[in-house]
């Protein structure tokens, strides 16, 4: 079938996704809000969350304006396409809007979920459905806006005179320009993840250290002044942050695949039709996945009194349903598009889906207390906090093994399926790289649904908080706890999935960087391209450089592993991941310390401690907000500036090294931190269950496990997830500054 016709599925799916997001949103709004106290609590959380987001968007806006101006200047000097500054902004706006809507929904929903759980007959099922469909608002908004942004720009660039040229060349130009839109989404995601991550953990650690450890309050005790901030944190970190992160992966993987597809056909001197097929495939798969996600959402339901396994089964039913259907559908899509190697590309997509599932399973193995690793950490709590930390770090580091092996095998597999033969050179290289990109698209195709299971977690968590603070009684709390516990499991696998998709997307972006460099070279026309400022002889005219194949390009730009610039780029990249994590860890530490001091100050007032005087929640919310805003600046600046600086000093070779080192180092570090954190969290929970040979709450063994959990908080919710963005953002920054890299490098 004609790809141009099939394309219309993309805007259509976008409308469908956004429509159902609206239906779920207004459906949720109609649900009962509960008692006045419940409304009050929900109101505090909503206000706090909105205040934070407003503050964050202010800072982000400043960054966006500055960068848009820089891009404008670059465009003026011909180093970049004129459209980029505008497109950069839309990417950021849509990503921010998705986070905003998702979070607004979550803060409206959590009180209502608590209210639903008060139904003694069908409370659990009602609560699950409400929480899950509210989470689905985030999932569908992300997917809907993503497809809208992509299809909108494609139509604009294809049908106006903004892009010159014809045929395959025009498609290459359109798709590589579109790729740079991702930069806006990336930057928005960075602030959302880093700022949100610092916010949520400063509040959480602060609330726990004083409230739980010093005063032995329960979780969400209304006397704890940091409780509201803690609940706000779940929303800004786990809802808005996660949404922005995956928005970026989603858009990034589709755009990178499209660009790689056009480039692969250009390299093979193929026809416009062939190029259109490869460009459309990722978009249409994403669109069909979005529609299947909506169907999957309707399948999730359970019965009253369901246990953990049955609840999990309910969610899995929806996920499996959409997963199997998209696997089948994508084969059909590729076939209908008329792609020659449709079966091979389908293999790549299938591999992407499988790798996503496997990484999720490994994450579950290393972070669930059903299995040995977490039990091992829990055993180590009997010899105190030090051995808890040692064993948790040990387990987390070991846990990096399988995800890396899966990514490696998956990438090779996706490459080979797409390339159609066992070779890593020449023209096939381009097709193989396209295979890697489309594997990422496969992994993310049902994002609408998987993101719903993610966002469901913090909503349930907040519902529990609302129930506790509103004194709704044991039976209600036990229902919200059941929903929340499930949320923890889905959050752990969701994190594995977020990291895995970030790695594949970043690999695809890395491949796209070279295409962007060639486009940038083409823009230079007859001007000479120099390897470096100090090198005397030019390596070719811009227009020639633009025609080189990948192998020739890499060769001329000396991007081999014996070039010290490449090697040293790899060093800097690996280091950057650590620096970034260290800065965010310390940021949480500092912000948490202010929080601890404030909570101690308030609780030293006897009336507050006894609950007769209301704690000043707003002050704690303000501390977290300010801490997060202040602390997110430096890591964010580093993430943006280092790739640019590396390019200016060490050129294309240095940037490639930087991206490869950052990607590999960042991925491994992210898996380590996420899994250590998750394992500590569940080791504590395991000890709390009171199962032999360990004892329950408020024993030295439990205290030791709480130390692990507290250390794990910034591991799994701040530094680890922020690395997902770092690895993608560095590629994105390099892609949009490719013009600079081609025009100038010092060494």
């Amino acid at each position: 079938m004609n790809p141009e016709t099939l394309f219309w599925i993309v805007p259509a799916a976008s409308v469908v996704a956004l429509l159902f997001a609206a239906i779920f949103f207004f459906g949720m709004k109609k649900a009962d809000e509960g008692t006045d106290r419940m409304k009050e609590i929900a109101g505090y959380v909503r206000e706090g969350a909105m205040a934070y987001l407003k503050q964050q968007y202010k800072v982000v806006a400043i960054f966006f304006v500055i960068i848009a101006i820089v891009f404008g200047v670059m465009a003026y000097y011909g180093l970049q396409n004129n459209i980029v500054p505008v497109a950069f902004l839309t990417g950021g706006i849509f990503s921010g809007l998705a986070g905003f809507i998702g979070m607004k929904t979550a803060t409206y929903a959590s009180g209502r979920v608590a209210e639903a759980c008060r139904d003694e007959v069908d409370g659990l099922n009602k609560g699950l459905k409400l929480a899950f469909r509210s989470g689905a608002v985030l999932g569908l908004t992300v997917v809907g806006f993503g497809l809208l942004d992509i299809s909108g720009w494609y139509l604009l660039l294809d049908n106006t005179g903004l892009v010159q040229g014809t045929g395959v060349e025009k498609l290459v130009e359109i798709t590589t320009i579109m790729l740079t839109f991702g930069m806006g989404a990336s930057l928005q995601a960075l602030f959302a993840r880093v700022g949100g991550g610092i916010y949520t953990k400063a509040a959480d650690v602060g609330a726990d250290l004083v409230g739980k450890t010093e005063f032995h309050f329960n979780e969400d005790d209304p006397r704890n002044p940091a409780t509201i901030a803690d609940n706000v944190g779940d929303n800004v970190g786990d809802v808005a942050g996660m949404g922005a992160d995956l928005y970026e992966s989603y858009a990034g993987s589709i755009l990178a695949s499209a660009a790689l597809g056009a480039a692969a056909v250009a390299a093979a001197h193929g026809t416009v039709d062939q190029a259109m097929q490869l460009v459309m495939a990722p978009m249409i798969i994403g669109a069909v996945g979005a529609i299947l996600s909506v169907l999957g959402i309707f399948i999730v339901r359970t019965k009253q009194g369901a246990n953990q396994t049955q609840l999990m089964a309910a969610l899995n039913r929806g996920i499996n349903f959409s997963g199997v259907l998209i696997a089948l559908a994508s084969a059909g899509i590729l076939y209908v598009l008329g792609i020659d190697n449709w079966l091979g590309l389908w293999g790549s997509i299938f591999i992407g889906l499988v790798v996503g599932i496997l990484i999720g399973k490994v994450t579950e193995y290393y972070t669930s207390f059903e299995f040995k690793p977490v039990k091992f950490i829990a055993e180590n709590a009997t010899t105190g906090p030090a051995t808890v930390i040692i064993s948790g770090i040990g387990v987390g580091m070991i846990s990096t093994c399988w995800p890396v092996i899966f990514i490696v095998l998956g990438t090779i597999g996706a490459y080979l399926c797409a390339a159609g033969e066992l070779s890593f050179s020449g023209e096939n290289l381009s097709m193989g790289l396209y295979g890697i990109g489309i594997a990422a698209v496969g992994m993310l195709s049902t994002l609408g649904l998987t993101l719903a299971t993610d966002a469901y977690g913090p909503i349930s968590d907040n519902a529990g908080g609302n129930a506790e603070m509103s004194n709704l009684g044991e039976s209600v709390r036990s229902r919200t706890d059941a929903l929340d516990a499930l949320g923890n499991t889905t959050a752990a696998t969701g994190k594995g999935f977020a990291i895995g998709s970030a790695a594949l997307t970043a690999l695809a972006l890395l491949a796209s960087y070279i295409e962007e460099l060639k486009i940038a070279a083409g823009r230079l026309g007859d001007s000479e391209v120099f390897l470096s400022y100090f090198s005397g002889t030019p390596i070719g005219k811009g227009s020639e450089v633009a025609t080189w194949g990948i192998a020739e390009f890499m060769n001329k730009f000396e991007v081999t592993l014996m070039n010290p610039k490449v090697l040293l780029g790899v060093f800097v990249g690996a280091m950057l991941s650590f620096l970034f994590c260290g800065l965010t860890m310390n940021a949480v530490g500092r912000a948490a310390k202010s929080m601890v001091e404030e909570v101690r100050r308030q609780l030293s007032d006897k009336e507050v401690f006894e609950g007769t005087k209301k704690a000043d929640y707003a002050r704690c919310v303000a501390i977290s907000t300010q801490g997060a805003q202040r602390e997110m600046i430096i890591p964010s600046l580093i993430a943006v500036i280092v790739p640019i600086l590396t390019g200016l000093v060490m050129g294309v070779a240095g940037v490639f090294g930087l991206l490869a080192g950052g990607l590999a180092g960042g991925f491994v570090l992210a898996v380590f931190m996420a899994n250590s954190g998750g394992a500590w969290d569940n080791a504590k929970k395991y000890i709390e269950t009171g199962d032999a040979p360990f004892c329950g709450k408020h024993t030295p063994v439990h205290d030791a496990s709480v130390v692990g959990d507290t250390v794990g908080d910034p591991f799994k919710d701040t530094s680890g997830p922020s690395l997902n963005i770092l690895i993608k953002l560095m590629s994105m920054v390099s892609i949009v500054t490719a013009g600079l890299n081609i025009a100038f490098s010092l060494l």
Copy 2:
């Protein structure tokens, strides 16, 4: 002057170094051993250490025999030179012997140092001199055996018919064969570092957790059954392990530089004389450095009642003296050898020296309580152990920034000085890589002395232990404490130095890998070289491949960063560092747990607790020994097998990726772990000083800092230092199996 003549300095220096090692050893043996109790304690430690080493050598011997057989088979099939299996063994034997002698010396010395400190008039000076000269035995033995092994094999290969060919080619062949001797040293070092590291920290953590935390014993309380094991651990970990580690860096950097020098001249079609100059330069600089180290050792002395600063000044005087002289001497050596670009190469050497010093300074900044980072961690102890851990990890991660920048700038600088111009391509690439190698030689040239300051630490530590267990009284203990405190500072900078030199050496080894591949290709003669088993067309005959320049070689073998095999190798390499650390962390955890249980069991006997019945030290020694032996197998196997497996599956491109990823990831991880560990250790010590605003021992704040210190133990003494070996060993394994890589790869 004729390089052949100057060469004789090398064996001569070897003899001088070994001679002075013997003089210092027998001088130490003549010193008074003290009371019967002191002899008894020293006897226990000596026995324990020897028992451990014997056990370790047994395991190592099995490995060596197996690997020698494998090499033999490879040699039989023409995949390797016939000499390699034998040479592999001598490297291992000399390295093991140096560790054995150094440790034997240390265990004889520590009791005598305690005795020397009993002198009320001149005790401190006597103690310092004795401890330091005993440490120098290790330093000089390492250097002496290293130079002996190198010069012996050079003479053998140069003057017999073992190597065919003439002129530059013969030199290339000789030096690349010699390089493989380093593999034996590497493997010995791996076991020494990993086994010793596990041993020492299992004993330390076990002794502390029960003795200090549960029973509030002081350090080295004779009632603690794990005390002797703890003291043994200092010897097997910090003396034998550190010695083997640096033996490998020392030999590796000289051998790699020699090989790179010969290759650089071959690439530039230079004369035999030029090749000889470059081959001899690193050996002669090492030899002169050894002699200057001996002189430096004689300069270290201090006066009674000297404070920390004066003690440090005494050590620094020796180090600065040798450092300045070798800087001057190496300029002379290069000039006398008649090297054209002697000034440039001198620049490379000077940069190596400076980078070593700078990394040491950064390490000091991040790990000494004089500075902000450690104070920041100490402040975080006021909010409990969790914030101590978070801030320590944050500080450690941030501390990776400067060492990486220094290594990056230093490597670029060394490259540019040697290459003589600002370009990273063609023939200059070979000369530039030689510059990187010789920078490592410069950094390590005064190893005889710097290693003495390292080994001095555990000797002083053990002297303190002996004084405590023999009840020598406050004034003696205060003197041994002063020596010990100094030892902690030198140990921290020593670790920075060990990591820095490992990184530069590994970079040089990586560069040598390509030379080894070419030699291996040459051995294949008329046989075709295939890129992979599945690729249909050969890339050239073996004899042709052997003549390719670096750029052509990298191009033909597709070692560019867009080759998925390379990228994925980088992933696996980065992951391997984490896996290796995780395994060793958990190994310490498990071994420490057995120790905790044994100590608890013994102390549950009231008589042992009250000190009326002697604790069963031997049992704890046996537990550490067995634990270390058992636990070191798997990490060691991984380090050896993964590079081979990567080569078999992903070929030369995959191996290059693996080495680059492992080197960068491992270096950054090693710096992080060493500095976090050191910072925690000193944060605890800072709190113990009682300086405001923190309190002294046995307060909650102090307890929190003890948790950090305990976590830091395996960080800084097991996992971190083991990574130094990992990054070098992986290159070494790849170098000796280069024949396999050329002959076969699956993908």
